[in-house]
């Protein structure tokens, strides 16, 4: 038994952590957050150079050939830093191709995704919160697709869009082929902007059946990991603030009530780490447990992280409610992780079904 990270995995986290801490410290996070596009091309270029774009791409296609756990560990670091980078959508697009692409499709797209020449994204959700593959309605019959998707990351920055369609199928759309109409949604998490996508007579190639559900499961794991990172950082921010903020002649951290609130926050988020580790591990190695473990990780971690985010704002007092306080950025990061791809209740209902309850 070995429920721990390998040295390589710890090194991967350290590397990404120190790179993003240097290149994208909180003031830079805020610049991008408040900026026009929410996209930081230089930062993404740097992350691509570190190999993150190809992390999940098989070595044969120019990637590192690593498992979902490795991608999740990167998400944890990105969530902790509230790093504005299109890693989530890109990685899911890579996985869609890896799991459901034909040899020619993989040959054509994976090297470009690994090298960062193309940015990938996924268009899964539809209006009304339809995130479950069985709820998707967009038709992938024929060689051209028409329809609308919502809450798509990266949007016009993307060069390849993996689109979810009726029956839980996935299709590949080359964004450079035209016919895609993007419109920006007024995103709450401005470090990961979302777009509505309309497809009109767009050429599309389908991937192997069943891939939609697998990609959704991977999304749940990555979101859980991101929320874990954001949540642990929010605890740290609350602790630091409580140590610095003086009231009644002492740091508020010295009040037992505040101290216990902080301890409860740590207790809320810290023990959930294993849920995403296990879910990521199961995704690659224990297929029969994968869907349920992913649902459990997403439901539990993002709910706990959201509670921690609320508590962190409360510890910050009024200042935590302002745009200029960094806590709001991480709060919205955690909220994105919670709401995107279905809320905790939705996934709890699924995991009850999957458990045969």
């Amino acid at each position: 038994m070995d429920f721990s990270l390998s040295e390589e995995q710890e090194l991967l986290q350290d590397t990404v952590r120190s790179y993003t801490a240097n290149e994208c410290p909180p003031p830079r996070v805020r610049e991008v957050f408040d900026g026009e596009s929410g996209h930081d091309a230089d930062l993404w270029k740097g992350l691509v150079e570190m190999g993150l774009a190809g992390l999940a791409v098989p070595e044969a296609h120019g990637g590192a050939g690593l498992g979902l756990l490795d991608s999740a560990l990167v998400c944890e670091v990105l969530g902790a830093g509230a790093v504005p980078a299109p890693f989530l959508g890109h990685t899911l697009a890579v996985l869609a191709l890896r799991l459901g692409g034909s040899a020619p499709q993989q040959e054509r797209w994976l090297p470009a995704l690994a090298s960062g020449d193309r940015l990938g994204t996924v268009a899964l959700g539809e209006a009304g919160g339809a995130w479950a593959p069985e709820e998707w309605t967009l038709s992938l019959q024929g060689e051209r697709a028409d329809g609308a998707k919502t809450r798509v990351p990266a949007g016009p920055e993307a060069g390849l869009v993996v689109v979810g369609g009726a029956g839980g199928a996935l299709g590949l759309v080359d964004a450079s082929a035209g016919g895609l109409r993007w419109s920006a949604e007024d995103s709450l998490d401005r470090g990961r902007r979302l777009y509505a996508l309309e497809l009109e007579e767009v050429p599309i190639e389908t991937l192997a059946p069943g891939t939609g559900a697998r990609v959704r499961d991977a999304a749940l794991v990555l979101l859980a990991a991101d929320a874990f990172g954001a949540g642990t950082r929010l605890v740290r921010m609350a602790v630091d603030y409580a140590q610095a903020r003086q009231q009644f002649g002492q740091p508020i951290a010295a009040f037992q009530a505040v101290k216990h609130q902080l301890a409860n926050m740590a207790l809320d988020i810290d023990p959930t780490r294993g849920l995403f580790w296990y879910a990521a591990h199961a995704f690659d190695h224990l297929p029969e447990e994968s869907a349920r473990a992913a649902a459990l990780a997403k439901a539990h971690i993002t709910d706990r992280a959201m509670q921690v985010a609320r508590d962190a704002i409360e510890i910050h007092g009024g200042i935590g409610m302002t745009w200029e306080c960094d806590a709001q950025i991480w709060f919205k990061r955690a909220l994105f992780d919670r709401q995107w791809a279905g809320t905790p209740d939705t996934h709890r209902a699924r995991l009850a079904d999957l458990g045969g309850w």
Binding site: Q250, Q339, G342, D345
Partner: protein, 403 residues
């Protein structure tokens, strides 16, 4: 036990209703006026009709009569129901005016009260500072007397609508060597004084209701002090005795709950309205227990205050704030769950503004679920409230570190 307001209040209710129907919204050429002028006119008429500011003496521009807590509640309910602009500068009408009536000079009363009641003169409150939140007595902004002027320096925060206000009433340290509560004075500050800079403080939900105000050698006439020098703390608390007429009527909690029910009807869960989901129903029913508790607690407070039996409802009075905070948090959490994808986008500017929403839209709920975080803070953090309950109601030892 009788939950109806009874015949005499029913008559009052009908009078107010008729008044509103006659005067709001305005008609004819008055309908062409700017909204603010319409509102000022409406309030003038309501004062003349004896509906608004019933206890403020006539010579200062009030209606100059008697009132009681039930009458005030009935009047407010009707003015709200007709969506009239009866709330003008709440800081001015409900904090400054009672303070001036209690502690102001005759000249101050004459100058300020009448125009404040109609809303011609708009006020903001300058109490909180970045370093003085729950611990207000540690405020640092200072006013030094230089001949005929106070010279103000420092910073205020959480100043509602400071960019629109004409005047600020605020607390400033005038005796820097004095300890804590002592040495603070209550000053009236024209906002167009050179050296004053008010900046909007954008909120987490995009709202722009609060400001920071910076003072850099801003000079204010020496006469603009209310009460005595160094007694500003006491002066600022002289409004407390008026607050007993201002018990919230908890109808806000009920309206918000009804809005939550609507959200649960709109939201889908497993292919049907979420409100049909057994788990959602349980959570709604649990929240209704808290909402109804608040309603009855308010009914009990109104009754007791009306009978001058305030002591009977000390528990309710001291718990009201925290109870409403807790309920708000439960509502916010369920709303966020029901919102699903709507929780991924920002609320509209209208929904991000504070105050009673005209409609409980999805965008309102996004804003609300963020702003409930603030209710645990504004007006005394929840931990301070728990201290008060523990110490005053339960008789537990006081925190040793305070003061």
């Amino acid at each position: 036990m009788d939950l109806e307001f009874g015949a005499s209040y029913q008559r009052l209710r009908e009078e107010v209703r008729e008044f509103c129907a006659a005067h709001w919204p305005p008609r004819g050429e008055e309908a062409e006026l700017p909204p603010r002028d319409q509102a000022i006119r409406f309030r003038q008429r309501a004062i003349e009709a004896g509906i608004l500011f019933r206890t403020v003496p006539r010579e200062y521009g009030g209606a100059g009569g008697e009132t009681d807590v039930l009458s005030e509640t009935v009047i407010r309910q009707e003015l709200d129901a007709a969506r009239t602009p009866h709330r003008s500068s709440v800081q001015g009408t409900h904090m400054l005016v009672p303070t001036l009536l209690e502690c102001g000079t005759e000249e101050q009363k004459q100058s300020y009260i009448a125009k404040t009641l109609t809303g011609e003169l708009r006020w903001c409150q300058g109490y909180s500072e970045p370093g003085a939140g729950s611990d207000l007595a540690s405020l640092q902004s200072r006013a030094e007397l230089d001949g005929e002027h106070w010279v103000l320096n420092g910073q205020k925060i959480w100043t509602s609508q400071a960019t629109e206000a004409d005047m600020m009433f605020g607390l400033f340290r005038t005796e820097p060597e004095a300890q804590k509560h002592a040495g603070i004075s209550y000053l009236l500050v024209p906002m167009d004084t050179p050296g004053i800079d008010a900046r909007i403080l954008k909120m987490i939900n995009g709202g722009q209701d609060f400001c920071e105000v910076f003072f850099d050698d801003a000079r204010v006439p020496a006469a603009n002090i209310v009460g005595r020098r160094g007694e500003g703390w006491k002066v600022s608390r002289s409004t407390l005795k008026h607050e007993r007429l201002l018990i919230g009527d908890a109808s806000g909690a009920r309206r918000s709950f009804d809005g939550l029910l609507d959200l649960a009807r709109r939201a889908q869960r497993g292919g049907q309205p979420a409100i049909r989901d057994a788990g959602v129903r349980q959570r709604l029913a649990e929240i209704e227990g808290y909402v109804a508790s608040q309603e009855y607690a308010v009914a009990r407070m109104l009754t007791a205050i009306h009978k001058n039996e305030d002591m009977k409802v000390m528990n309710e009075m001291l718990m009201a704030k925290l109870l409403s905070t807790n309920t708000g948090q439960l509502v916010a959490r369920l709303a966020m769950e029901l919102l699903g994808d709507e929780g991924l986008t920002m609320p509209t500017a209208e929904d991000a503004a504070m105050g009673i929403p005209s409609e409980y839209t999805d965008s309102y709920w996004v804003s609300h679920s963020m702003m409930t975080l603030g209710t645990a803070i504004a007006g005394g953090a929840s931990n301070i409230q728990r201290n008060i309950i523990g110490e005053r109601l339960l008789g537990l030892p006081r925190d040793p570190r305070k003061g």
